[in-house]
Amino acid sequence: MTFDPAALRAQFPILARRVRGQPLHYLDSAATAQVPLAVLDAVRTHDAMHRANVHRGVHALAEEATQAYEAARGAVAGWLNVAPDEVIFTSGATAAINLVAQSWTRSLSPGDEILLTELEHHSNIVPWQLAAERQGLVLRALPATAEGRIDLAALPAMVGARTKLIAATHVSNVTGAVTDVAALVAAARSCGAKLLLDGSQRAPHGPLDIPALGADFYVFTGHKLYGPNGIGALWARREILAAMPPFLGGGEMIRRVTIERSTYADPPRRFEAGTPPIAQAIGLGAAIGFLSTLDWSAVAAHEMSLTQRLLDGLAADRRIRIFGPAGLQSRIGVVSFDMEGAHPHDICQILDARGVACRGGHHCAQPLMDRFDLAGTTRASIGIYNDASDIDALLDGLDEVARRLCA
């Protein structure tokens, strides 16, 4: 267990790149994190030397690919502290949430309620809307506080006998606020509802202990966890998975197929229709292997000190308003802000010319933007490889923005 920021940076080839003639200051890890050599190499080695379809071949390549794919499932299970056969590979968090929204909801009745929050990413809203339309479900949403957190005070009024599921983000991709999961677990327990946590933004900040957390479903996406694109995972408790009907149909997920009817394999395979993203799963396993060598209390301290530096710098500019917790309590290094007189896209464009990669826009969270009455924010997000120079480059860039656009 080590953490040496400079040595770590050397593992990420892209950080050596220059963009627009400047060193790259990548502050967009909440959109997609960069990948270390361990991941690049695992993906390439698999595809160059061990590639085959999984699960049904007996030849050597097929055995190698199958073992590597299942080992990756084990790695994911390790990161979440759950059993491998409760882990389903999907093409991302969005696919994982759609799976639950289309399959698990089949047992609900019209009028049953699903409780979301105003902080959700569209991927944790729209799937429920589509399911609600088809099944006659009612969607409600916990409001956001002015600090950009889930308003837990509203919880008692929002849960009741009809509430069947609470689906909430574990960490907001806009404000960086970490959700008080215990409060949601208690609320869910009080009415017999299940709890789904969208861990897309939480998973990249250290290993998890899902059983201790008390959720019933957990999803995350590989490309934000320093892994490949096109891979994600759904975890759910065994009994829940066992009772869920299939979502996508196809190869791999069946027991017996006739034209008239089919029977289905047990989980996890029941939910992995078709050839899975094999190389991507292996790359995700490699990412987790890499991350597992880090000392996560040191990483957290590092990320938090950068976050503090950023918050301080932003607070010093009176044109800037931060959306999200002002302090470090229960937050991660995802920081959204607004600058009077400058549009997020213009800010990002001027930053880009200085090699600083930030994101401007609604961050797939329009309901939260509506809550703050904004079209969008500028967001800087901190990953394990950032350092003080990244934060300073951003702050310097914001000075230029002010000079050029807010004069």
Partner: protein, 144 residues
């Protein structure tokens, strides 16, 4: 191309004018369009006489490029026929994509030349034209 080129004084100045509210009341047609990628929004009004635009007004909640483009369109629009709106949009898109020069009518858009090397921002410049097309369709005599 760098941000320096994108945010030359001329564009910034037009953006500042474009940030105001130049909506027309009364108007012959009004349309509002959103950019689904960023949430930017243009509300655009047309006044017509003898089948041609006599005035175009707008309220634009958007980035500097979008505001500057709306403002530039406000200046170019008088004299255009509603039925030409889609063709103007195509001409500007083709210019931004580097496929052709600007037609005379849109000559003022040459200030946007640096956007040619920023594909992700071309939608910002085109958004006012989407609103123009929608508003124009309401008053296009050929469509009624």
């Amino acid at each position: 191309m760098t941000a320096d080129d994108l945010y030359q004084a001329e564009i910034v100045a037009r953006a500042k004018s474009g940030a105001g509210d130049s909506r027309l009341d009364p108007h012959d047609a009004r349309a509002t369009v959103d950019n689904p990628l960023c949430g930017d929004r243009v509300t655009l009004d047309l006044s017509l006489a003898a089948g041609h635009v006599v005035a175009l007004g707008h309220r634009t909640r958007g980035c500097a490029l979008c505001q500057a483009a709306a403002e530039t369109l406000r200046r170019c629009a008088p004299g255009m026929a509603p039925s030409e709106a889609p063709a103007h949009r195509e001409a500007l898109a083709a210019y931004l994509a580097g496929r052709q020069d600007l037609p005379e009518r849109l000559a003022d858009f040459s200030a946007f030349a640096p956007v040619r090397s920023h594909p992700s921002r071309q939608g910002c410049v085109l958004l006012p034209f989407e609103a123009f097309i929608e508003a124009a369709a309401m008053v296009d005599p050929d469509r009624r």
